[in-house]
Amino acid sequence: MSNQVIHALYDDDDTLLSAVKEVRAQKHHIEEIYTPFPVHGLDKAMGLEETRIAIMAFIYGCIGFSVAVLMINYIMIVDWPQNIGGKPSFSFLENMPAFVPVMFEMTVFFAAHLMVITFYLRSRLWPFKAAENPNPLTTDDKFLMEIALHNNAEELTALLKKTGAIDVSIPENKEEA
């Protein structure tokens, strides 16, 4: 496994997209792409696996919904029934319309927060983690494509230049240095 990589810098997301297709057509493996904002269709162009977070979002939402039903049933019906505006809380079903906002909010709350946490875990992110992007320009307005090198630096440099990269460089390997 080679630790050497080549970095190509682009200044336009459309150029980047066509470059990705070109590089993949030449059977090179793209390690990673750093972009300042999400680029539509980039995941498909890179051939990344479909995300499964949508399925998890649905499951988290169902969990949130169930928690809300159990919680509101315990609070308002079982533990401390109250008479609010002439509507005594003796039955869950008869008071259900009043609980819908709670069920909705809990569903959204669980889905949103658990999705973010799942995303952090899967992408190995945590607060105060040192940034991994090799070039700070990718937090501004540039796009960086990282490709593994297998003693084919000249060939790749030529290819990347041809696809519209504004800069191609082979950084020193920091871990070994």
Partner: protein, 446 residues
């Protein structure tokens, strides 16, 4: 250029014929006298069906809608009740006609609003669908004229859909009497004509610029269209709201809801978008609209999903506040619907919310014609029931039934709608080639 296929033409015409027969049957079988009405009710009770049971609960319905006119009847309660049921039964064919006429008119109006939003937002994804939308909005004028004709017939006392039009009722009803400054027949009809005139004028102007843009060398037609559309949207949201009070909410002149205009708008918007998707898929499957790809269908699917949820949000906001506060003159609206219209009232929630929510949630399903068509048919029928639930309880009370006149009305206006829309589609190329955003729309790819 698109040609109206003969098969579809025959289908549309036969829908109209069958529907017309159903409507005529409905008018023929409506009772002419109180005695006939009593016989109909007695026969229904004799069969022991749901209407017999509902009849026993009539005092509930009696205090609502048309009930007020008999409030002073007191000792003549039985006779008054028979007369009340007679009015409901003679309203039935008119209500069936009105629900279907309004429903298909509402599709054209919702589509017009969607179209104007695309124009005003200068949307890049939708120009390939402009001609489909323009085709659907062609139904606006004929559909609107029919609705106004029914309203005028009510104003001339051919039917009793709008009880505030009856001077006898107003004389005994202080609440309605206080509203006569707004709810009087000449002003009511004048408003209707102004609203329809404004909407039709925008449709005419926008269509003209849209066709002119096809052959133009610059974008001036597009820019004019953008300005007219932005102006139209301001006019639309005000007039649509007043239209919903006039044409629907005033059937129940004691009851009011401040978000009713939005609620009706959400209903027409989602139905309009659904019909755009259905007609687009139909044309696409016949080899037209070659520039439409599954990303366009995906976007329409997202709108169907999103606006269905938006409709539910408004439905629930209206329901929960009235249910919770429990003020008698407000809550009767929902009590009649829950007691006498249980199946249609809750069935509509399942069709308009649960079904689209679950089936259109998945991203891939929104790109699949099969799922869009399935969900679309359910949404269209569900919103027909929505209009049904808005109009029927106050017009016919517990005497409702989805029978020959109701289905006939639906079929007749569906046939008319298809005939007019597909005729309009043949009038211009389906590809609006001059639109400055056409390139973006053709390449549109999520």
């Amino acid at each position: 250029m698109y040609t109206f296929p003969n098969k579809l033409k025959v289908l549309a015409l036969s829908f109209m014929l069958i529907g017309l027969a159903g409507l005529i049957y409905g008018f023929m079988s409506a009772p002419k006298t109180i005695e006939e009405s009593k016989a109909i009710v007695a026969a229904a009770a004799h069969h022991g069906d749901g209407h017999g049971d509902a009849h026993a609960a009539a005092p509930v319905a009696h205090t609502e809608g048309h009930g007020q006119e008999h409030a002073s009847a007191g000792e003549h309660h039985d006779a008054a009740h028979d007369e009340h049921v007679f009015h409901q039964l003679s309203n039935k064919p008119w209500a069936a006609l009105y629900v279907a006429a309004f429903f298909f008119f509402m599709i054209a109006l919702g589509t017009l609003a969607f179209y104007a939003i695309q124009r005003a937002a200068q949307a890049g994804w939708s120009p390939v669908l402009f001609r489909v939308m323009e085709g659907i909005t062609a139904y606006l004028l004929p559909g609107g004229l029919i609705v106004i004709a029914i309203l005028a017939a009510s104003g001339l006392h051919f039917n009793h859909l709008f009880i505030w039009m009856d001077p006898e009722v107003v004389a005994h009803d202080k609440l309605i009497a206080g509203k006569t400054g707004f709810l009087n027949v000449p002003f009511f009809l004048a408003r209707a004509v102004i609203f329809l005139g404004g909407w039709t004028a925008y449709r005419f102007i926008s269509r003209k610029y849209s066709l002119a843009q096809d052959e133009a060398n610059d974008d001036s037609n597009h820019v004019k269209n953008f300005r007219w559309s932005a102006g139209f949207l301001v006019f639309f949201i005000v007039t649509e709201s007043i239209m919903s009070w006039d044409w629907i909410m005033s059937i129940d002149p004691h009851w009011f809801s401040t978000l009713f205009g939005w609620y009706v708008f959400a209903s027409m918007f989602v139905t309009g978008i659904t019909v755009i998707a259905l007609i687009t898929i139909y044309l696409k499957s016949n080899g037209y609209l070659e520039k439409v790809n599954d990303s366009h269908i995906h976007d329409l699917g997202k709108f169907m999903f999103g606006v269905s949820v938006f409709w539910t949000y408004l439905w629930f906001s209206q329901f929960m506040l009235i249910w919770y506060s429990n003020i008698p003159e407000e809550v009767t609206y929902f009590i009649t619907r829950i007691e006498d219209y249980n199946i249609t009232f809750f069935g509509m929630i399942a069709m308009n919310f649960l079904f689209p929510l679950l089936i259109l949630m998945n991203s891939d399903y929104k790109r699949t014609n099969y799922f869009i068509v399935m969900a679309g048919i359910v949404i269209v029928l569900g919103h027909y029931l929505d209009v049904f639930n808005m109009i029927m309880p106050s017009a016919v009370g517990d005497q409702w039934f989805i029978g020959v006149p109701e289905i006939g009305g639906f079929l007749f206006f569906m046939g008319l709608f298809l005939y007019i829309v597909f005729t309009a589609l043949t009038k211009a190329p389906l590809h609006a080639k001059g639109d400055p955003y056409m390139g973006e729309s053709e390449r549109f790819h999520y």
